[in-house]
Structures are given as structure tokens and as C-alpha cells.
Amino acid sequence: METAAGVEACLPIRSDMDLVWVRQHVRQAAAQLGFGLVDQTKLVTAASELARNTLVHGGGGRMEAAHVVRGRVNGLRLAFADDGPGIPDLDRALTDGYTSGDGLGMGLGGARRLVHEFAIDSAPGAGTTVTVTSWAVRPPHPREVV
């Protein structure tokens, strides 16, 4: 089992430069925990969407990354938190095509499809925290040729 060194971190999200660091950290952490290339790409893309939401809609915040374990499977849990205005209508915010900014409206709903677990905690005036978890599911060990 890998150690969590290099995975656990709390990164600020204050500028578009910080989005670059968030993506790099998630990429490295996912690779270290044994995520395959496609799963790494999905998780980094989801992190990029969520970090941009934190920056644009939440007025900045932070991402906390944690190594989680279920049985023998490694997972990466990412929590994006801001102290912004919160989301008044969660169902609508999760709908594809709904946008309050100038994006394509894919941010939240799209990010949810790219991860295994997705939770959102928000109330008007109380900020928003989006927590996602993905698991590094390895393909079964190849059988030895007799």
C-alpha cells in the first residue's frame, strides 16, 4: 500500500495560476495512488472544473486533497471549499447547460460524471463545499500462462 506522502495537501485557489497548481497536484497524487491514465485525466479535468467554480463563483477558496482507503483500493478525495455567496438552487446548478457565468454550463454536472462519488454542501450566504472521491480500480491481475 502506498503512503499518503505527496498526496495530502491544502492548496489555495486565488488566481488562474493556482488552477495550474491544483491540476498538477491532482495529476501527481492520482498517478502516485495507481490511477490509470484515463482515470487520471478524468479526475484532473473534474478538479479543474471545480477549482474554477471555487474561483469564479465562490470568489476564491481552497482545495484539500486526502488519501482514502477502502479495503485494498486506494482513493483520492478532493474537497473544494469557498466562503462565497453559496448556491441558492442546487438542482438547477447541477443541470447541464445551466450557467450563471460565461462558461458552457458543464462545470458541476460534468464534473459529477467524471468522478465516482460527488457531494455538495451549500447554502445561500454560507459558502460552498464540493467533495469528490475517485477510486483507483486496478484491472484484475492477468492469469499466468501455463
Partner: protein, 141 residues
């Protein structure tokens, strides 16, 4: 945590002219402001060079999120209004898989598997003079 990593590439992206085609190679992690600057640069370069095509090489790009997807779609739309065709080349399979799950289909965007194919698609006669015969895809076994 992030000590010791090289600083991410943030500078502006060069727009090269090959015949009447503009070639833009995106590398690594693109800064949002660099992506927006690139839109302007391409528009100006099309007009200045009377370019007929724009080829955007994504071989070195690890993710396309909705922001970069929107930038690519807008570059293509603006180039179209300036009478130039845009082709996006060399997207990695993992990127394509992720974009579709994200809901980012970008139906208006023309694509090619390699930059050479893209150069041929936009009609730059230039590609034929440099392309190796046989048209073998780079990276194929």
C-alpha cells in the same frame, strides 16, 4: 508540497506561419489568460497573413476542460468569420474520452489525428512538400 516542481508553462503561445496556414502548438498546462491571449493573437495573425487555415496541435495537452473547450470552439468560430478553417490535431484518446463524459462534444470543431493530416485538410499545399510519403500515422505500430 509544490516545492521543487518546475514552474508551469504560462507564457504566451507562439503562432507560426507555414505557407498560408497558421500552426499553434499547445504544450502542457495552459494558463487561462494565455488561452485568452491566444484567441486574440490568432485573429490578428489570420488577418495579417491572409491565412486560409489554422491548425491547433493538442499532442502535448493533458486535459481539455470546459474553459479550454470553449476557447477552442471560439477560435474556430472567429477564424471561420475571417475566412479561415480551423483543425484541431493530435488529441489524446484519454482527453477525448473525458471530454465526451464531461458533455463537451464541440460538434463544430474539425479534427485530425496528426498535424500532417490537419495541414492537408486545411488545404495548405505546404504539407505535401514536407510530409513523408506513405502517410503513416505517427505513433502507430
Amino acid at each position: 508540497m509544490t516545492h521543487g516542481f518546475p514552474p508551469p508553462a504560462t507564457g504566451h503561445v507562439p503562432v507560426l506561419r507555414l505557407g498560408d496556414v497558421l500552426l499553434v502548438t499547445l504544450q502542457g498546462d495552459l494558463h487561462d489568460s494565455a488561452a485568452e491571449q491566444l484567441q486574440q493573437d490568432i485573429g490578428e495573425a489570420i488577418t495579417r497573413n491572409r491565412a486560409a487555415g489554422v491548425v491547433i496541435d493538442l499532442t502535448g495537452v493533458e486535459i481539455v476542460d470546459s474553459f479550454l473547450g470553449r476557447v477552442l470552439a471560439e477560435i474556430a468560430a472567429k477564424a471561420r468569420l475571417l475566412a479561415a478553417e480551423t483543425v484541431v490535431a493530435g488529441m489524446r484518446p484519454a482527453v477525448a474520452i473525458t471530454m465526451v463524459e464531461l458533455g463537451l462534444y464541440l460538434p463544430g470543431l474539425r479534427t485530425a489525428l496528426s498535424t500532417e493530416d490537419a495541414m492537408r485538410l486545411v488545404g495548405g499545399g505546404y504539407a505535401d512538400t514536407v510530409a513523408r510519403p506513405g502517410g503513416r500515422r505517427p505513433g502507430s505500430p
